[in-house]
Subunit: 81 residues, 5 copies
């Protein structure tokens, strides 16, 4: 898993049906890369979270059918990057 | 998932049968890398999209038998890179 | 698999139910990157470990339902980085 | 998927039985990295190809039992890197 | 797949039961990174090998239950890096 900071919700013109209804969040990695994840927890911009990738990301989103390769797994307490 | 910009359709001399009939698009990552993805949505060059990787990419293409590790998942509204 | 050094336990404000009850550890890679893994072995800060990624990480955590993409697989004897 | 150029066939002293009988090719990525892929298409050195990674690579090789994480998926027409 | 050089066997203080009894080898990538793989072939330090990652790595190790994400797939003849 990796540690990311939540930046904003992603606004989508169109998306595949099987993304479900979870919010899609833009995240920054600790090395500055931009990533996108499903958020089943309800994070706020500025929160530090850890994310789960690949096949476990689909179950983490709450349903194996969800189309994701990255899902927020938890909010980190008092993270000092 | 990651954020990419659509560049062009890829012209192929030959391809495996089980790619299906979806267009294959060349994408640029935000760090400048070149990637290739199936496009079930019908994006245009210049569109900013997010892409889904690995096992979820196959379902995202519409059929688990499709041979892909990267599929366009949605078009992003007003993205400022 | 990769070689990582254990830094600390991760304190979480909230986490998904299906992480199980294993401790979540912050690790450093040999190139300085920060990662997060489930720890079924009981490592201490400073230990050098190898980690197992992706689908095998879930079985390594002791249960295929666990939501992880990285799990500590063993402690390395006398590692000189 | 990624775009690679075919360099040469790989000569092997020994290999696992379940690689099947497909040729194993050395590829260069657009950033200069060296990779190895199964080639079910019959490419020649100098060809530009796109490659399919991870679980789809096994099906792309023609049989889910094949032991590969990267398979050539098609030859690209007139690629200007 | 990738090309790696075998450095040494890894000595482990403790490891998960389901690693099986295969030796665990430390490898160097062509870009200098350090990796760890199961070795079902019996390589020697200095051998150039190619490695298989992720789900195929488990079957390559000889048993789908083995906990690995990287397995040696074959020894390369006369590799000049």
């Amino acid at each position: 898993m990796e540690i990311h900071q939540v930046k904003q919700q992603l606004l989508l013109t169109s998306r595949l049906d099987d993304m479900g209804h979870l919010p899609v969040k833009v995240l920054k990695s600790m090395s500055g890369a931009t990533l996108v994840a499903l958020d089943p927890i309800g994070t706020k911009p500025g929160d530090w979270v850890f994310t789960i990738a690949n096949s476990a990301a689909r179950d983490a989103a709450g349903d194996k059918r969800y189309l994701t390769d990255l899902t927020v797994g938890g909010i980190i307490d008092n993270w000092q990057p």
